[in-house]
Structure formats: C-alpha cells, structure tokens
C-alpha cells in the first residue's frame, strides 16, 4: 500500500517535472528560472553544527564564538549564491553524435561554452539517474564531453534527458538543471545474415558475374582525382611517377548491384533489414557500386547505385527509418 502510494506520488512528481522542462535546440543558455537548489545532506549537517555552536556561544556569552558562528552562517548563505552561479548562463553550443548500429552504444558529444570571466567547476552530468562525466571549464572557454546511451533498436534515438548537478564551492547546496535537447541520432539496423550478395536479382542490364577485386578489365591509367577509391590506386605505377595513378576499369563491364527485398521474403521483416544492412556493409567494403530499393508500402525509398561513405550512410539511414 505504501509502495503504491510512493509510486503514484513519484509518477505525479515526474509528470510535474516533465511539464516544466521545455525541449530546446542548441545553442541555448541556462537561465536562473530553470535552476533548482536545495541543501545537501552535508549542508543540513553543517547547519546543525552551526546551531550547536550558536547555542554554546549564547550560553557562555563568548563574543569570539559568536563571531565565528555568524561567519559560518554568512558562509552558508554566500555559498548558496555561488552554487547557483556555477550553473547560471552556462551555454550548450552543439550536440553531435555519430550513427551506430543497434546493440551498440550511441555517444552524444555535448559542447559546452563558459562565456563568463570565472571558471566553472565540477558540473556533473547524469542521464536517467546514472552518473556521468564531471565538467570543469575555465573562463571563456569551451569543452566537449560525451554522454552514452545504449541503442537497442534501429531508428532515431533521441538525446537522453540530462541532469546537470553542482555542489561547488562548499558542498552545502546542490543546484541542478534538467536539459531536454532536441537532437537525435540514427541507429542503423544490426547487420546480420549470411546470404551472399544478390547479383542474380539485378535487372537486364545487370550482369551476373561477381566481381572479385582485381578481376576487372583494365582500361587504362589516369591521374588520381580526390574522391577516387584508394583501392584503385596503382601503387607500382604511382611509384614510377610523381603523382598518384589510378587504374580505370572498363565502364561497359561495370557491374551494378541492386539490393532489395525480393530474395528475402522468407525472412522476418527485421531480419530482412538486418540482411540488407549486412549486404550494404559488404558491398561498401568491396568498393562496389550498389543501389538500394525498398518497397513503397512502408515509406520505401529507392537509392540509385553509387559508392562512397555518404551513400552508405544514406542507405543505412533508409534502412533504419524504414
């Protein structure tokens, strides 16, 4: 019964908190109306000690004792303001994250900027109650730190709600701030499956011959242009000249690979996406040109054959958001 009450109360408090945390897009600054401050356990203990000292000074009419006690009272009050100002006007400049595969951990890189004349110390960042890194930024500087969130499913993973805590300078008060950042990272589906690349399902102008690296028809050398795959550099020829030389392969025999779901109907939907992801990775590793075709029924996309890291990212994103 008590547990149910507590759970209910906790849920209501959580909803009240949620209402008060706006979703913000970086860059933004922390202002005083969103900083909460309360005494810590050590602060309460300190207050008790100061009370005892006050009673003692009153009893013995000891002026120096009074002076010391009142200095400690003043110190506590002053510390409260310092703690709040340690968070005040801290600025979050940007949130950055590299896409990862499902099952791995996404890392959000947060860049904070301390735009004041004084340094800020010991600002702890925690997500979902788990402690995270502790920041100290010197005056007028920026600092990046990382916050991890495990990615279990594919799709978009939002930046977790952050809580910034600080007890600087004296540990008597704890000031905190909730941050809900409007940023997310793409989580690619986990690549899985052992099926070979579907050359046979390519269309009429697509050949069935698998291309192993180095078997292509040689059609000449040309100078290296930035953007060429490094696998095509002919190192022997380049050593003989001053510039890098790339071997060109016959355009006519260029093999195009189309990745689609036709051969995967026997698999579960998620398994299909995993297999496609595996194929994309394999094709990209081999330096092939490949295209992706997803059925229209579920917001499918068609990506024409291309190669390179940008194309890989586009394909995996399409798979992730399917």
């Amino acid at each position: 019964m008590l547990a149910k009450l507590r759970a209910g109360l906790g849920a209501r408090i959580q909803r009240a908190i949620d209402r008060r945390i706006p979703v913000q897009t970086p860059p933004f600054t922390i202002y005083s109306d969103k900083i909460y401050i309360l005494p810590t356990c050590s602060g309460l203990y300190f207050a008790l000690l100061v009370l005892v000292m006050l009673l003692g000074s009153l009893n013995y009419s000891n002026s120096l004792g009074f002076a010391l006690t009142f200095t400690l009272v003043g110190l506590g009050l002053v510390a409260m303001h310092h703690t709040q100002h340690n968070l005040l006007r801290l600025r979050l400049l940007a949130v950055d994250a590299k896409p990862v595969f499902a099952g791995e951990t996404a890392r959000f890189k947060l860049t904070f900027s301390n735009e004041s004349c004084v340094p800020r110390y010991a600002i702890r960042i925690s997500t979902h109650g788990r402690p995270g890194p502790s920041l100290s930024i010197i005056a007028n500087a920026e600092l990046s730190t990382q916050v991890a969130r495990p990615a279990s499913r594919r799709g978009r993973l939002a930046c977790p709600r952050l809580r910034l805590d600080t007890t600087y300078p004296l540990g008597l008060f704890n000031a905190w701030h909730w941050m809900e950042i409007d940023a997310s990272v793409i989580i690619y589906p986990r690549p899985a499956g052992d099926l070979p690349l579907p050359w046979h399902s390519s269309g009429t102008e697509r050949t069935t011959r698998a291309i192993a690296h180095g078997d292509a028809e040689f059609s000449g050398h040309r100078g290296y242009v930035p953007g060429d795959s490094p696998r095509q550099i002919d190192w022997k020829a380049s050593a003989r000249s001053d510039t890098l030389i790339v071997t060109r392969h016959h355009a006519g025999y260029e093999q195009q690979l189309w990745l689609g779901t036709e051969a995967l109907r026997h698999l579960a939907p998620e398994a299909r996406l995993s297999q496609l992801a595996r194929w994309v990775l394999t094709a990209d590793a081999a330096g092939l040109r490949y295209g992706l075709e997803l059925p229209d029924a579920y917001n499918g996309k068609t990506l024409p054959p291309d190669s390179g890291s940008a194309h890989r990212h586009a394909c995996l994103t399409a798979l992730a958001l399917y």
Partner: protein, 659 residues
C-alpha cells in the same frame, strides 16, 4: 573526467586534511596534561603515516577498541567527560581517530565541519586578540579544503583555492558583522556554566588570607581590572578597591566565616556629594566578587548584591570580562549601629594563641582613654619600632605567628600587618575585621583609563568606632607610607621580586606593553563585553527598541547584502569584452544594429551580414559598407596603423542607425 570512484579522496587530499586538522588541534594539545598530549601526538602521527600511504580503514574491532580506550583515558584523567577541558580533549582525540576513516567525500566533509567545531572550543579557552589570528587561519584553511573537495578531479591550484576561500570569507564577513550586532542576545546562561569560571579566569583574591597569600598575588602583573573615572580621579589615599572582607581567624588564616556570609547589607550614611561613579572592566576571575572603589554602594549589574561586609558580589556566574558601573562613597558612615551578633563575630578570637600580643592589647585597653587612643598606640608601635615592609619576610611558622611577627621577626608584607593589627584590636575589645582588595593603580599611556594589576593587591583593616561606623585603618601606611602615596615599587626597598610592568615605567618595552593593553582594553570593552546590556544601549542609539524592529532590520540588512552579492556574481559571470578595440567597436555596432532588428547570426561573417542588412535598408549603404570594409581590412588583413584604427573606432561610434 573521473569515472572510477569519483567520491574517493586521493592521497594529496587526505594529507592536506590531516595536516590542517593537526594544525588546528595544536593549541589544544598545549592545554592537555602531559600524557594526554603525548597520546594526541601519537594518534596524529599515526594518521599522517596512514594518509601518506593511503592506508584503508582499520577494521571495525580495532576502531571500537580505540574509541573505548580513548574515552577511558580521558575519563580517568579528568574524572568526568563534560567539563570544558575534558570535552575538548575528547573532541581532539576522537577527531584524530576519525582521520583514519577519511576515504570518501562524505567523510572528508564531516571531518572538516568538525574542524570548525575545534575552532570554537578554543575560543572558550582564550578570547585574546591573538585568537583572531588563529581563527582566521583556521577558517581560511578549512574553507579552502572544502572548496578543494568540491572542485572535482580537475581542481585548481592551491593558490587559487586559497584565493576563492578568502573571497568567500570576505563576502560572508558583512553578514557576520550585521548578525553580531543585531542578533538578540539572551542574558542568562542557557544551561549552566563551569563552576571554576572557565578556562580564561585567573585566580584573583580568594576567601582566605594567610601569610603569603597577598605576596603571591603581587608577583604577577596581570591586570585585575581597568577603571575609568568620569568624575575625576580620587586622591591616592582614596584609591582603595574593596574585595572580600574576612571576619574569622583560625589556624593562622583569616576567612570570611559561614555566618558572616549571611549578614545583611549594612546601612551606609553618605552625603550625595561624596558619591562617585566608576566604570569598571573586570578581568575574568574564578570568583564572583565585583571589585569596586571603597565603599561600594551599588552597581549597574542587576544580578548583584552587597554583602554584610559591604563588598559587591554577583549572584549570577559568568565567563569572560565583566563590565559595570559602580557607585561608591568616598566618605561615609558605614553601619552607624552595630548589632550584637556582628559585634560578637567582630571581636571573636580563638583562645590560647599569641599570648604576648594579647597581653599588649590588654595593657592598651587599660591605659588608653578612648578607642581611638588604642588605635594610635598600635600605629605608633608599627611606626616607631624597626618594622620592615618586604615581600620576602622570614617565615614565622604557624604557631603563635603574630607574636613572632610582632616581637621577633618584625618583617612582613601588608597581610602580616593587617592580620596583626586586627588581632590586636580584637584582643583590645574593639570590633575589627580584615579587608582585602587592591590599592592604587597606574594610568594607561594610551587611553583614559587606569590599570589595577594583581601586583596592587593589598590587605588592610577596619575598626568599628561609635559615631563613625567602620573606619579604615591601614597599618602598612604606618610602616611604608609610600605604598599609599606612590605604589608598591616605591615602597619596597628591594623590588627585584616585583614583576616587570610594576617596577618600570617609561621604557620602550613598557610603552609597547601599554599600547598592547590599550588595544586589548578596547577589544575587551567593546567586542568581548558586547552582551545584552551593551547591545540594548547601542540599538537604542540607533532607534531600535523593540524586537520586531530589530528583526526587521536584521532581515533587511542580510537580504540587502545577499542582493548585492548576487549583483556582484552576475557581473563576475558576464561575458568578457574582447580586448581588441576594433573587435569591441564591431561588436557594439552589431549590438546597435541588433536593436534595430538585425541580429548577427553566429555563423555570419561581416560581409554577409552587411549585405543582408543593405538589402533591406539601402539607406544605410553609404556608411555601413565602408565601415565593413574597413573592419575586414583592420581585423583580418591586419592593415592600417594606429591612426586608421582610431578613426574606425570613432566612425563606428558616430554611426547611429535610425529607425
């Protein structure tokens, strides 16, 4: 960024905490008896070693047995756990044991908070000006360590820590000052005071006088009281300060006596013109006597009364200096009628002692024609016979000591003369008693007050005469009149036994000591003695009389100070202005344009920004475009000399975009 056990204190922090706690507890160790001091050094030495090696907590059984051991040792040393000395010894030793447990952040904070507590216990031992140094250093150190614990792993250097700590304390100081003046002071002790007057009290005049008591006091030049005479200085022969009055003579010593303690206060008949007010600052003593100028009538302390011997005594114990005004009568008739019971006590003498003195007194009684004649005979004895006034007389032994003094050794100090004289008067049938107190005083070289030191301690006699009441007779004046006129240094032939400040005047060191005393007196008078009475006087000067006004003012001032602090902190966390004047000018231009609705986006370069504005406001093109070009040239191309730079700044200031 620390992840592994962020709460754990590292070796450096442990060493610092151990070191500063050791420093703070050092004065306490000097107050402890020798074996406890040794134990404390042992414990703290062990803690230093543990901190150096980053040793873990000793196990539970070891800790418990150490605690029990320490408590037992303190209990056997002091016999109790709750006195001032026992309590602070226990605190210091337990804190030493606790130092072995500071592995984590929480323990560190706990130990540092207890460090503040150690500071305040030292205030109960001494409130001298030197304590301020100790308190300031202690507070500064402890606060700096607290900041260090809360700075995380990338904490600043020690210099910065001390600077931050100092800044925090300076910001807390005005609040402390306001609270000190305005916080309501409650008069009585809340739960009780140590019976011995606390650790700051000195042994002053006691309830017993035996040969050697006063001479012992004279060897110290500690200040017993400081007095200000607003209505003028009394002549030297009137500078008698009254302390306890002794009625009973047993075993060679004079005591107050149990019954005389309960005598009611005497009637004092005095002409109003002969009453003087003296402001007294009494140094703390172990007794409750309020020393005042002879003959005291009343004092400004409400919890005080006049004893049967006309001495003021406080009914409420207190620790620390007492500050009061005493009304005294310089010429009066004390107790014009003597009740039979009091006469009985004032003439009582134990039998079978000092037969020769008794015989002498009996002879006087028979041959003299009035009580005054008897007194004159006694004083003539002291004056004409070769009596010597010395601090180091030949010892007489307790048996028939007065006979031996009067007829054999004939050398003594004021207590011998007062004792012998009073004995003779009682033996002659006159009511007499011994009065102890002080005689004389030295003026301060820096202030308008007089110092009465322990070395001015004195004993004299009082005889009751019909029609005149109790009359002061000082037999020392018959032997060494300079004692009354000038002071003890002039009265003694050999003053080498006197303390320094009593026998020398005018030297540089003397003057320095007097200067220090002047500072200490101001300190004692205004700061240490700031209690309910002084606060009430001061606050009524400010116009604050009732509690509501005082609390409102207090809250208002504290809130005001905190608001000022907020403003200061906000100014501290401002965005720093760039030092380059060109950049500053450009930023102010952007701010001005921003006010007109053209905020510069962070990614916008000056050219793009300018173009965007020009598109919407072509009327600014004439001024804005050259300014932008100039800015780019000055800042990025690094062209231009001082003159062009100054011109740019001027032109930017002149550009005022209108709506």
């Amino acid at each position: 960024m620390a992840h592994a056990e962020p709460n754990r204190l590292n070796v450096r922090q442990r060493l610092w905490i151990t070191g500063s706690i050791t420093l703070l507890c050092l004065p306490q160790v000097l107050h402890l008896p020798l074996w406890l001091g040794g134990l404390a050094i042992l414990i703290y030495g062990w803690q230093w070693l543990s901190a150096w090696r980053d040793a873990p907590k000793p196990n539970f059984m070891v800790r418990i047995s150490l605690i029990v051991g320490v408590v037992a040792i303190v209990l056997t040393s002091f016999g109790q756990l709750n006195g001032l000395e026992a309590g602070s010894a226990l605190l210091v030793l337990m804190l030493g044991l606790k130092l072995s447990e500071i592995q984590h952040y929480r323990d560190g904070i706990l130990v540092l908070s207890l460090g503040y507590f150690v500071l305040i216990t030292q205030c109960l031992f001494s409130q001298s000006l030197a304590m301020i140094g100790y308190l300031v250093v202690g507070c500064w150190l402890l606060t700096a360590l607290l900041v260090d614990l809360n700075c995380g792993p990338d904490g600043p250097r020690p210099g910065i820590l001390l600077k931050t700590s100092g800044r925090l304390l300076m910001q807390a100081a005005p609040i402390a000052a306001v609270l000190f003046v305005l916080f309501p002071r409650i008069p009585a002790p809340l739960w009780g005071l140590p019976a011995d007057g606390g650790a700051t009290a000195r042994t002053g005049l006691s309830d017993t006088m035996r040969p050697g008591s006063i001479s012992r006091l004279v060897r110290s030049d500690e200040v017993a009281l400081r007095a200000r005479f607003p209505k003028g200085l009394p002549p030297p022969q009137a500078r008698y300060w009254r302390g306890p009055v002794l009625w009973r003579f047993t075993d060679g010593a004079w005591r107050i006596g149990e019954i005389p303690r309960k005598f009611p206060k005497p009637t004092i008949v005095v002409h109003p013109g002969n009453i003087t007010n003296v402001q007294i600052l009494l140094a703390p003593t172990k007794s409750d006597w309020l020393i005042a100028l002879d003959i005291p009538i009343s004092s400004s302390i409400t919890e005080a009364r006049l004893t049967g011997g006309a001495t003021l005594v406080a009914t409420q114990s207190s620790i620390g200096p007492r500050r009061y005004r005493a009304r005294s009568a310089t010429r009066a008739i004390m107790q014009p009628q003597l009740p039979l019971l009091i006469r009985h006590y004032a003439t009582a003498l134990p039998d079978n002692i000092n037969p020769r003195a008794r015989a002498l007194a009996a002879r006087w009684r028979q041959t003299a024609d009035s009580p005054r004649a008897i007194i004159q005979r006694a004083l003539a004895l002291f004056h004409n016979q070769p009596f010597v006034y010395t601090l180091t007389p030949t010892r007489t032994g307790q048996h028939n000591s007065i006979d031996r003094f009067l007829f054999e050794t004939r050398e003594g100090f004021c207590e011998h003369y007062a004792s012998a004289f009073t004995f003779l008067m009682r033996a002659a049938g006159l009511p007499a008693r011994v009065v102890t107190g002080y005689l004389g005083g030295t003026p301060s070289t820096v202030g308008d007050y007089w110092l009465v030191r322990s070395s001015d301690a004195h004993a004299w006699s009082e005889v009751w005469l019909r029609g005149a009441g109790w009359v002061r007779i000082d037999p020392t004046a018959a032997v060494a009149p300079q004692r009354v006129q000038t002071g003890i240094a002039a009265a003694l032939a050999d003053d080498s036994a006197l303390p320094y400040m009593t026998r020398s005047t005018g030297s540089v060191w003397y003057r320095l000591q007097m200067l220090w005393d002047g500072i200490n007196t101001g300190w004692s008078r205004w700061f240490l003695a700031y209690g309910p009475k002084l606060q009430a006087r001061f606050l009524s000067l400010l116009g604050l009389t009732n509690w509501r006004d005082i609390l409102f003012t207090l809250t208002g001032l504290v809130v005001g100070i905190l608001v000022l602090l907020s403003i200061w902190l906000a100014w501290q966390t401002r965005r720093p202005a760039p030092t380059d004047p060109i950049q500053r000018a450009w930023l102010s231009l952007c701010k001005r344009l921003g006010r007109r609705g053209f905020d510069r986006a962070p990614h916008e370069g000056p050219q793009a920004y300018c173009n965007r504005i020009i598109r919407q406001r072509p009327d600014w093109r004439k001024t804005l475009v050259p300014l932008t070009r100039q800015y780019i040239a000055l800042r990025y191309a690094d062209q231009g000399n001082t003159a062009t730079r100054r011109r740019f700044v001027r032109e930017v200031a002149r550009f005022r975009p209108r709506k």
